[in-house]
Amino acid sequence: MYGIGIAKGLIVTLKNLFRTPSTVQYPEERVEQHSRFRGQEFSWYEERCTGCASCAKYCPLGIIEIVTDPSKQAMADGDKYAIEKFDIDIGRCMYCGLCVEACPYDALFMGSGFERARYTRSELFIPMEELKNATKRPSTWFRPQLEDKGYDPQSGQPLGWKEVGRHEAPDYEAMRRRWADR
């Protein structure tokens, strides 16, 4: 009333003028993601994968294709299936992360990137070779062992297959601390 509202509005905009802009200038800067961010590139460790295809069975969209072959090794030497095919079609992926939850051997992780946009749908297909050779910065989503280490996929080093697993079962006290006492 009597222009007081206008004056108040002018003060509000003037305050905004002296604030730091919230723009993130993308190619130079990136928005900081949470370490549990479910990114586009999956991190898959061939060494840990047994080819059980739990992930493929749990995928609601059926976009993981796995073909395995019994290896000729003796069971005592650590026999596992030889994996011939492990392809993910992220063009239809909804990033629910059920495949990661399903994996019993901690071989599959959500990725941490968000820059795998492509011009055609066919390029969104991630073949096994790419998964094998990719730099692996797994997301800590559904992987408490990574989060216990304080691993941050955005800034941390790429992890090898020996560093990502639950090597030993947590003791009772640790379990209680994590799940009961918080």
């Binding site: 009333m1 009597y2 222009g3 206008i6 509005g9 002018l10 509000v12 905009t13 003037l14 905004n16 003028l17 604030r19 730091t20 802009p21 919230s22 723009t23 200038q25």
Partner: protein
């Protein structure tokens, strides 16, 4: 423009003497014309250089008002962004709609841009730094500035598009409404200075006139913002109502010229506000006078951008009501008050100036308060609370 009008100008005389020294004697007759053309080129380039700078400034400042950065990619601080925009517009296809009136459609951008270039002629950028000192300067501004609306109306009419015509009609309606308070607030200034020449107006202000005629300044800046079709009065190109208003059908560099004219008119309008109400190029001696003018100019431009960043667009009926019900009485009150004061104190000393200034601030406050109250302003916070809903459950039925 004949060279004789320019002969009072020091800048012109310098260029003239330089050219007559360079030219051989047989050609000395054309020296005046060459000097005149040179200075016209100079002033025209002031418009063409300052306007892109202003566009850049506005986009950066507006970005910061909205917590963005604004254009910062091309050139240092994004300074070359207007050039990039111009190149983009030049490359674009120039579409003329089938229903358009082709000659008028093509002429409209030029006719819109021309008055802005003409208006910059009378702005005193500094002491002895102006193109021409017309003795009817203020009248010239009003007359030439009004021509812009003809360009807008031609564009809207020739487009063969209802939205464009609607925007153009709005422009004319706004011109008719806002010209009246604008001229009346200027009349108060002319009463004070007793001259229509902008150089004289700047010289005859004892203090910046904003301190002596706050009401006149308020009316003038509001009406100027409305005349140059800026937010919050930019409803001739209201995107949410009529697609882009009068330049809906324009593309390519014609659209670019429209934009350029629009921003240039802001630059020129801010220059007039600086000259008329802020005492133009006057300032302390440690800086040259064009620098003082530029600083004040920048302040006015900043305020205009600030207003744009703050206020939402008003409705058509609100625009008309604001001009006729609010600004017109205010400017009349201002005119009467100034006239009375001039009769009372024909040659004011510093004490009288204090009295006049304080009285005018008081008049401004009272007038705005009284007018806002009289115009049906309701105090919503003091409204009596609604009656509670009857509790029919607990009432006895019979």
């Amino acid at each position: 423009m004949s060279p004789t009008v320019l002969e009072t100008n020091a800048l012109y005389q310098n260029i003239y003497s330089l050219i007559s020294w360079v030219l051989p004697d047989s050609l000395s007759g054309i020296a005046g014309y060459v000097a005149g053309l040179a200075i016209v080129l100079f002033v025209a380039n002031i418009v063409l250089v300052i306007t892109p700078l202003f566009i850049w400034f506005e986009r950066r400042i507006l970005g910061r008002f909205q917590q963005r950065l604004g254009p910062n990619r091309w050139g240092p601080f994004g300074l070359l962004q207007p050039i990039a925009d111009a190149i983009k517009l030049i490359i674009k296809e120039d579409i003329i709609p089938r229903g358009a009136d082709r000659p008028v459609f093509n002429a409209a951008p030029v006719i819109l841009f021309m008055p802005v270039m003409l208006m910059i002629a009378v702005i005193p950028f500094g002491t002895q730094f102006y193109l021409v000192d017309l003795n009817v300067g203020v009248l010239y501004i009003i007359a030439v500035g009004t021509l812009e609306t003809i360009g807008i109306f031609m564009a809207g009419w020739a487009s063969g598009n209802r939205y464009a015509l609607m925007g153009a009609v709005r422009s004319v309606a706004m011109l008719v409404s806002y010209e009246v308070p604008l001229v009346m607030s200027l009349a108060a200034v002319l009463l004070w200075t007793g001259s229509m020449s902008l150089v004289d107006i700047v010289d005859k202000q004892p203090v910046p006139l904003i301190l002596l005629q706050p009401l006149g300044f308020f009316v003038f800046i509001t009406a100027t913002i409305a005349e140059m079709n800026r937010a919050p009065f930019d409803l001739i190109e209201a995107e949410s109502e009529i697609v882009a208003g009068y330049h809906t059908e324009y593309s390519g560099m014609k659209f670019g010229v429209f934009q350029l004219a629009e921003f240039a008119s802001v630059v020129v309008g801010a220059g007039f506000i600086t000259a008329i109400f802020l005492k133009g190029a006057a300032g302390w001696a440690f800086l040259p006078s064009p620098v003082w003018f530029s600083l004040k100019w920048l302040a006015v431009i900043f305020c205009i951008i600030w207003i744009r960043a703050t206020l939402p667009r008003v409705r058509v009926d609100q625009v008309m009501a604001f001009a006729w019900k609010f600004l017109l009485p205010l400017s009349a009150i201002n005119l009467i008050a100034i006239a009375v004061e001039i009769v009372l104190w024909p040659s004011p000393g510093s004490t009288e100036l204090w009295i006049i200034g304080l009285a005018n601030f008081a008049i401004a406050g009272i007038a705005i308060f009284a007018l806002a109250t009289a115009l049906g302003h309701r105090n919503f916070s003091a409204r009596e609370p609604q009656r509670p809903i009857r509790n029919i459950v607990s009432e006895k039925v019979i």
